[in-house]
Symmetry: C2
Subunit: 199 residues, 2 copies
């Protein structure tokens, strides 16, 4: 487009590569930033640039962290006999927001989905089994998403974990079925935690 | 949130400040970038950082430009006797996409909106009148948005321009009323250009 300055076209392009951002939204965001203060634009650029600097996966639970051991795993107050297994780091945040859970986490980084070519080996499942073998864990809460892939993953994990003599529970179905765990409100999630039942 | 690494929280924050991006979308985008390649993240950061570098407003039409005179105003092939008045630089893009318009532009950078405290003096209206006084312009197409503010602005401009002996037209109402010009598809916009009528 001859009428479009190159730096503008470039940012529209980059925004369009983000999930859920179409070309129209990308244009809107770009033209918003064109009118925004230099401070705001620089703050955004800096935040993007620094995103990955110093971010690692926790060596215990594979949540994102700034330290080799994340703040939850390092917290002496947490109950080390319970591990809540989630698909994504965002799910840890959702559960932390309930302030109802005092155990540890394990982040799988996905769910089993043959359609998308994601098998058990692509997730942090071996690492979970290793934790259960070496640490005194009494309960694993399978808090994968309440949808097909999440349920399949929970089923797979339950079968894998039960021979180890660890109790496996699933979040109570206060959760809207077919949804994403990270969108649940605190109350629903808190009730789902309370109402968890044995697999 | 103790479970949230600082660089992650910071980017979620910055994304949330963009229009139409709530905290959930901001989280999604941030976690997407956490998994994206370093190349993609750096490209986005660079595109944001460089957005304003070298961007100026064209001294003739006030469209965004990389040169003092924008590529449309500098183009010898364009018909200098017609000026299309639009609210925003994005509207220039929308009309250029029709490939039906060969005249020049004038970007107001907004519309008259007493509710938002935007009066004629806040827009590039004096500069438009000056152009009409000093350049041999035969027609001004008032292509402000087909909504209340856009119509009010067009009406105001029409009254201002008619004494100068310049024909003023408004885009034909093939446009959906109440909408935004930049969302119109090429065909609708092309038809609206054809069907323009005297004010």
């Amino acid at each position: 487009m001859s009428a479009l300055a190159k730096p503008v076209a470039r940012l529209i392009d980059e925004f369009s590569r983000l999930p859920g951002i179409g070309p129209k939204t990308a244009s809107r965001l770009t033209f918003f930033l064109l009118r925004a203060s230099k401070e705001q634009v620089d703050a955004l650029a800096e935040a993007v640039r620094e995103l990955k600097a110093g971010i690692v996966l926790c060596r215990e639970c594979f949540n994102i962290s700034e330290t080799p051991l994340c703040s939850v795993c390092a917290d002496e107050q947490r109950d080390r006999s319970v591990i809540c297994v989630v698909e994504e780091p965002l799910d840890v945040l959702a559960i932390e927001r309930t302030r109802d859970y005092k155990g540890l986490y394990h982040v799988l980084h996905g769910a089993i989905s043959p359609m998308d070519g994601v098998g058990p080996a692509d997730l942090r499942i071996n690492e979970l089994v290793e934790r259960l073998r070496t640490k005194p864990v009494r309960e694993v809460i399978l808090a994968t998403n309440p949808n097909m892939e999440g349920d399949a993953t929970a089923m797979y994990l339950a079968r894998l974990i039960q021979p180890l003599g660890v109790t496996t529970t699933r979040l109570g179905r206060g959760l809207p079925v077919g949804g994403d765990l990270e969108y649940a409100d605190e109350m629903t999630l808190a009730r789902a935690l309370e109402g968890r039942r044995q697999f």
